[in-house]
């Protein structure tokens, strides 16, 4: 089952590579990526389609939950906003301002269920 992650990340050295690595090497298969500069040229808006990798036998058939990914992504220093869009959810713009806080950024955010 695929999901979509909407991320705004600062345009800094290696920021997109770092973002994709944080997803791809932590048990999620990246299915598609688009990135474009924001109007002020300081950040990228990145849309990532992904699905949790199903471990092959004899490993237990327990893919990583998709809902823990926003917190993993949010802790990257240059990530400014992150939103997980679940399958079938109505498309909408990335949540502004406090969405990163909801994902659990150390030093800047509080956890919400």
């Amino acid at each position: 089952m695929s999901h979509t992650l909407l991320v705004q990340v600062k345009k800094t050295e290696g920021s997109i590579l770092r973002l994709l690595g944080q997803i791809g090497r932590r048990g999620y298969d990246i299915l598609g990526v688009t990135a474009k500069l924001t109007a002020d040229g300081r950040s990228f808006d990145v849309v990532i389609d992904f699905e949790p990798i199903m471990p092959a036998p004899p490993a237990p058939p327990q893919p990583r939950p998709a809902d823990v990914l926003p917190a993993l992504v949010a802790k990257l220093v240059d990530v400014q906003r992150v939103e997980l869009r679940s399958p079938g959810e109505r498309p909408e713009a990335a949540k502004p301002a406090d969405s990163k806080a909801k994902a659990g950024k150390p030093g800047e955010m509080a956890w919400e269920e």
Binding site: E13, L17, K75, V77, G104, G107, M109, A110, W111, E112
Partner: protein, 556 residues
């Protein structure tokens, strides 16, 4: 302020952080930094391999709570740092690695000693910078130290091209705002949920990891234990959070945990996980770990919560207020506590192995009994590491330096060097094995050069003991590439480095050896020969749950 070079500014930044010692090795692309280093207010320790610099910085940071700094030149100098950086990442240790890079216009041309260390280290750093302009250094250096130590600490890489180090500009230190670095207060609603879970519990267990010490929350944790009287199990990195001689200390849990610890977790109805992360070495078969327990999970890093085990109360951020909020008497758990303490007594280690040879668990217990409250143990990786965790009683978490997440053989000696320089008020003992010690043996030269009073307790079974144990138990005794019977003569080797050393083979000589380690001045090596067939017990076999541990031959 007159203009200064980028290299000089980096030195001023290190001084401003209050760091008194850094570790490094010079080379072409970092030469401007080494030129600016002359006259700096901090000490530079010239190691003999860059990996030693990174791991010494780890030891410095873990023992002192300050940020460790290591320095290397471009290319192989930087790649030699990688293992130490990965170690810091896995164990959440605040270090800043400063690396020289080829001149800016040569980046991407395969220039001499050019390596994309920024790219190589992306998965193993908390953050990294490639400095493109000298004017960016004030903000980058400020952020590098802030990021390394704030929230969940970790390594930060600052890669500086040689021309940026040489360039001059009007550079000013930016003010630190330590208040900004404090983790956020946890959500009050989650603390309320945790209190309700605690009050409803009849069989709670505290499962404590290294995050408590790193959050400076040891006193709050101990206050919680004292008030609630909940039994405590520790991860490898959590050891010392509750002193080993506290009645409620059950020991380490997990693969080589004690039976009373693993049984307490498996039987519990509430697991209060504090600064730990459900690592596979702690949980065994995750699906069967604490099968009847609800979970309260507290951690500075929100991404750890729910990563491997769902929790019913999620406390992210500053764990100290949460610990205080849960500090309350729990009279309803008296029966459970007595059950756990009876198990602790029933399964207590007997230290009565037959024979005249050195029995490492007993030796380490004797060492702990004789050592004072200011003794730091730096371990390497393997059987001796587990014996230390099981049998050396720790009183503080920062007194136990071990490579937990990464399992870095070669960690012990450089980490001990870093600790000895960070904590001159403490005695530092490196407990190593004959496999591990050879991985950074060159740092004996560093011990000698600076007369660093690290004592080395080298446990030698002439084999890669942990691998041998697994081949014996799980690979039908088909031994493959574990023989180290052609080890060098470690006493003569130490003496060649200029370090006094002595040899111990018999059990009766252990007390004298420990006395020498604890009382002699300067560096010293004790080479202790043990039986190769000795195994680490208990052991939870792979893919088994923690209640299915094998007790072994001495403590049945």
């Amino acid at each position: 302020m007159p203009e200064m070079s980028g290299a000089s500014f980096v030195c001023r930044s290190i001084e401003a952080e209050g760091i008194d010692t850094i570790f490094g090795y010079p080379g072409g692309a970092i030469m401007p930094f080494y030129d600016a280093l002359v006259g700096a207010k901090f000490k530079h320790i010239l190691v003999r391999h860059e990996q030693g610099a990174a791991l010494a910085a780890v030891g410095y940071a873990r023992s002192s709570g300050r940020v460790g700094v290591c320095v290397a030149t471009s290319g192989p100098g930087t790649t030699n740092l990688v293992t130490g950086i990965a170690d810091a990442f896995m164990d959440s240790v605040p270090i800043v690695a400063i690396t020289g890079q080829v001149r800016s216009h040569l980046i991407g041309t395969d220039a001499f000693q050019e390596v994309d260390i920024f790219g190589i280290t992306l998965p193993i750093v908390k953050h990294s910078f490639l400095v493109r302009r000298v004017q960016d250094l004030p903000e980058i250096m400020l952020q590098a130290f802030r990021i390394a130590r704030s929230g969940r600490p970790g390594p930060v890489l600052v890669d500086i091209p040689r021309d940026v180090q040489e360039a001059k500009a009007d550079l000013k230190l930016l003010p630190r705002n330590l208040e900004e670095e404090r983790p956020p207060a946890p959500a009050a609603a989650e603390i309320d949920k945790a209190i309700a879970l605690l009050k409803a519990s009849r069989k709670p267990v505290l499962y404590v990891g290294g995050g408590v010490g790193m959050a400076n929350a040891v006193e709050e944790f101990r206050g919680l234990v004292k008030a609630t009287q909940i039994p405590v199990v520790h991860t490898l990195k959590g050891l010392g959070t509750l002193p080993y001689n506290d009645p409620l200390f059950l020991g380490m849990l997990g693969m080589h945990g004690f039976k009373q610890s693993n049984l307490a977790v498996q039987e519990s109805d509430l697991l209060i996980c504090i600064g730990a992360r459900f690592d596979d070495r702690a949980t065994g078969k995750l699906a069967e770990f604490a099968p009847n327990a609800k979970v309260i999970h507290m951690d500075a890093d929100p991404s750890e919560i729910g990563k491997l085990r769902a929790s019913q109360a999620k406390i992210a951020g500053d764990i100290r207020p949460a610990l205080k909020a849960l500090t309350m008497p729990l009279p309803q758990i008296a029966e459970w506590r007595e059950h756990c303490l009876k198990n602790k007594q029933a399964y207590a280690w007997k230290y009565n192995a037959p024979g005249d040879g050195v029995y490492v668990p007993a030796m380490l217990k004797e060492l702990a009994d004789k050592a004072d409250d200011k003794t730091i143990i730096a371990c390497d990786v393997g059987q001796h590491q587990m014996w230390v965790a099981q049998h050396y009683g720790f009183r503080r978490p920062e007194h136990h330096l071990t490579s937990g997440g990464s399992g870095t053989m070669g960690f012990g000696l450089p980490a001990a060097i870093g600790a000895a320089l960070a904590r001159p008020d403490c005695r530092v003992i490196c407990v190593s094995g004959d496999g591990s010690i050879m991985m950074n043996i060159q740092e004996m030269a560093t011990l000698k050069r600076y007369n660093i009073p690290v004592k080395i307790l080298l446990v030698d079974n002439q084999a890669l003991g942990m691998v041998r144990q697994w081949q014996e138990l799980f690979f039908a005794k088909k031994y493959s590439e574990i023989d180290l019977s052609d080890n060098p003569d470690f006493v003569r080797l130490a003496e060649a480095f200029g370090i006094p050393a002595f040899f111990v083979r018999e059990r009766k000589d252990v007390p004298r050896a420990i006395d020498r380690l604890l009382n002699e001045r300067g560096p010293l090596l004790a080479h202790v020969a043990i039986e190769q067939a000795e195994n680490v017990w208990p052991l939870v076999p792979p893919a088994k749950n923690n209640a299915e541990m094998v007790i072994g031959d001495h403590n049945k």
